[in-house]
């Protein structure tokens, strides 16, 4: 026989609006969490992709007679190859450099026949774990081969990673604020319920109900509401994220790798529902026990 609950909490107005509020907060929190996860995986990707490469540029000099660009290129290759931590080197073929420059300068200008000074490039793959001393390499190349420049992509990459880090931090702060708002909402809803059911709670108190007995009723009620709202919110967040992923896949860019969440990251996002139910339950319980503690 399932008897009617002693405290008819399900009939309170808060039982109707609280799941919606929780759903909305869970949606926000899940989106923020997804953003944090995507940003941190971008950061990792950028770091491992770009810090693994260096580009060395050999500019043409005025005294080609002394040493041709080609010769300097070979000497530079020699030096780089001997540097510890370098995995491979490749001189970018002239043809590809011309192709790169053509859209800006015109096919005719860059064609070799005109003798335009075209710099040469060397792609260097380095072992990112070895923390190669780029400054020292640059110094040595400059000393031994005139007209070299080393670009380690570091400067702008650092800025990009810093930007991503800042966005990540702000998003985390948003997550914390949403959690605080959720706690405050549940506290107010619970206090309202306590006031509505004050008579019955006082009666239970006087006939010898332990505080736990009353708190248990609020506990299960808050768990139900939290789960309802949490599941609805996560459902909406999943739909939103899937929509974003499909829009994103239409944008091709090497800088913005396709957003995709790993199975673990999806689990994290789904776990927001349970976090919401947990926050709601614990908050309600503590609020009730504190209120009951003030009774004589």
């Amino acid at each position: 026989m399932s008897s009617a609950p002693v405290l008819p909490l399900a009939r309170d107005a808060s039982s109707r609006f609280l799941p919606w509020l929780i759903a909305f907060m869970v949606w926000l929190a899940a989106m923020a969490l997804a953003a944090v996860l995507v940003l941190s995986s971008y950061g990792n990707q950028w770091r491992s992709n770009l810090t693994g490469t260096l580009t060395v540029q050999i500019t043409t000099t005025s005294d080609e007679a002394v040493e041709t660009t080609e010769q300097r290129l070979n000497r530079a290759l020699e030096i780089i190859r001997k540097t510890p931590g370098v995995v491979s080197t490749e001189a970018v073929p002239l043809k590809r450099i011309s192709d790169l420059l053509a859209p800006w300068l015109g096919r005719d200008v860059v064609s070799e026949s005109l003798g335009l000074p075209i710099p040469r490039l060397i792609d260097v793959r380095i072992n990112p774990e070895k923390n190669i001393d780029v400054a020292a390499l640059w110094e040595r190349l400059n000393k031994e081969v005139s007209g070299t420049q080393v670009d380690d992509h570091g400067a702008w990459l650092d800025k990009l990673i810093a930007l991503a880090g800042a966005v990540e931090a702000i998003t985390l702060a948003v997550l914390v604020l949403i959690s605080i708002a959720a706690v405050a909402t549940v506290v107010f809803a619970t206090r309202t319920s306590l006031t509505i059911h004050r008579d019955v709670i006082e009666l239970l108190h006087v006939i010898g109900a332990k505080d736990q007995y009353v708190a248990d009723q609020f506990h299960w009620h808050a768990l139900t509401l939290g789960l309802k709202g949490g599941i609805a919110g996560v459902f909406l967040a999943t739909a939103t994220l899937l929509g974003l992923v499909s829009l994103w896949s239409g944008v091709e860019s090497s800088l913005l790798p396709p957003i995709s969440l790993s199975i673990w990251q999806w689990i994290c996002v789904l776990a927001v529902a349970f976090a919401a139910a947990g926050i709601s339950t614990v908050t309600a319980r503590i609020t009730v026990l504190r209120a009951l503690g003030r009774m004589p």
Binding site: L203, I207, G208
Partner: protein, 244 residues
Amino acid sequence: MVLGGGDVIRFQNVGVRYGLGPKILHDVSLRLEEGSFHFLTGASGAGKSSLLRLMYLANQPSRGLISLFGHDIATTPKRDLPGLRRQVGVVFQDFRLIDHLTAMENVALPLRVAGASEEQVREHVPELLNWVGLSDQIDARPPTLSGGQKQRVAIARAIIARPKLLLADEPTGNVDDHIAMRLMHLFEELNKIGTTVVVATHNKSLVTGFAHPRLHLANGELEVLKAGTPFSEHEDETDAEDRR
């Protein structure tokens, strides 16, 4: 601290005032021995309900000591109070039935709060409701019951868990004389098996019809009158005033 071994209740110089209002009880000292039966009288507003509220631990006194079943309430840990309260059955002046629960569920409440099994509930509650003449109303909710029926549900709830101390605040105010007598006899039966009883009432014929001592409240002071002490003229006056 354990005070007065055989006493169910002991008050020492107890004073009560609500907030900054006037003193309702001044300097009340009293002892209720185990198995005793007392009436509690006094004009309306004399503080009968206030005194009972102290006894069932719903309020704390502004001053003085209260001990219940030998436990000094001021020094008893809070977690032990529910256990003491469960040994006290209370019939509230305003019944305090829960409107959305059936008569059966209202009466079962003290059992449920104490963690009794479903079998115990289904065995004892209908039996008691039958005894107070409400076997037809087991599934009725309080708003559909008459005043006297509500009162009987409230009494059934107060005694279902076999309390050691029964406090009844105007338990016969809404029932006819026949039922009032029946309820009084029920209280006497409970008293015979050891329950300590206090009945607050305005009903003089009830007080004179039973040979029990009377606690009389006037001007914040408590007087203990032996059974059979006649009502004073002054009391008649104030009572007449109440009856208006």
